[in-house]
Symmetry: C2
Subunit: 195 residues, 2 copies
Amino acid sequence: MRFPKLFERLAAQVSLPAEEWEKAEALASEQVLARRELFLQPGAPSDRFALVLQGVFRAVRVSASGAESIKAFRAEGELIGAYAEMLQRRPSMTAIEALEPSRVLVFRTRDLEELERGHVCWERLARRVAEYHFLLKERREQEFLDLTAEERLVRFWEEHPHLKGRVPQRDVAAYLGITEEALSRIMSRRRKQRG
Amino acid sequence: MRFPKLFERLAAQVSLPAEEWEKAEALASEQVLARRELFLQPGAPSDRFALVLQGVFRAVRVSASGAESIKAFRAEGELIGAYAEMLQRRPSMTAIEALEPSRVLVFRTRDLEELERGHVCWERLARRVAEYHFLLKERREQEFLDLTAEERLVRFWEEHPHLKGRVPQRDVAAYLGITEEALSRIMSRRRKQRG
DNA sequence: TCGCCGCCTTGACCTGGGTCAACCCGAGGG
DNA sequence: CCCTCGGGTTGACCCAGGTCAAGGCGGCGA
């Protein structure tokens, strides 16, 4: 077993036999990415996803008008991939880019589907993954509905303290749904008021 | 079998044995709700959910400041319930209210969990439900990130044509994340421009 | 050492949407 | 028949955030 810690984390979620995990490990491959390198480019088939071993990524949606908005940041222990597109079996509309030199553990969707046919634990895990990501999205939806940009900023750092210093400010702005100028002003206003 | 159409719809999603569906039907109960009646009140345990047979509902989150924001509208064939809270086994923070006289088919969470232990089809179905609701949330997140209020309005009616005339305007506004005054102005502006 | 580049800040100005308050209008009840 | 009430509209005013444009500044390659 190459990744016993990972196995423990997953086994805590759903009962996952060690031999099933070993099968998955055998199908997975490590990939190293340089800063700015893409794990997934828009237009590519969304037939693979990965677990971040080291580093930080941003998932970027490029709209028709060319504006970038950020769907998520992902760091160690989190999954990267065009999940929505994968579920719909469509090509990715999302770029997933390393913000630092990174290492990930890559799985092919097809391989996972194969594993699912062999043992129910994988379906249970897939369910957990779906439910977890649903909760993430619902939380963000609520923030957009109820909170000002400044309140969203405060929440962002509460929820992602591990990203401090690792993501450029303009990307935080794009995550919050505002421009980098607006974010800069919010921050300087807060600096003056609080100290 | 009381609801053969429902069964067909579900069976198209995951392979669902008829006898499992009959077990579920036996555990479910129909409930009739008057206009304005709550299927679920905030603070109540989120131990039940339902399928809408007839009518329209709104899921409302009441924030600390007393402002209402609308998480979703649900009509015939859709599920109502405090899904996020259910997944976290917390009391509901959401009110679910009938906007018209309605009929629903109620399931208890515990009963479903029991069914899950008996046959894998229920877990598969739960996975589908989670994935589907994830997609809904992700779509809405994207709309908040990339679209103006006016564009969100247009999308809303594209995505929910069946709600025309069944939901009050103020609720549409609360769904879009704006005030009823703002929505009113957007509509009158559009009336003038297009015709 | 210099100059460029990536990232952030600041300023001037504009605009979408919030807030408060008045008003309109159609449906039901007394 | 009028009154009320719920839901929608309109106006005046304000403010958060967008847009465009001009710097600032630290780091790195030539």
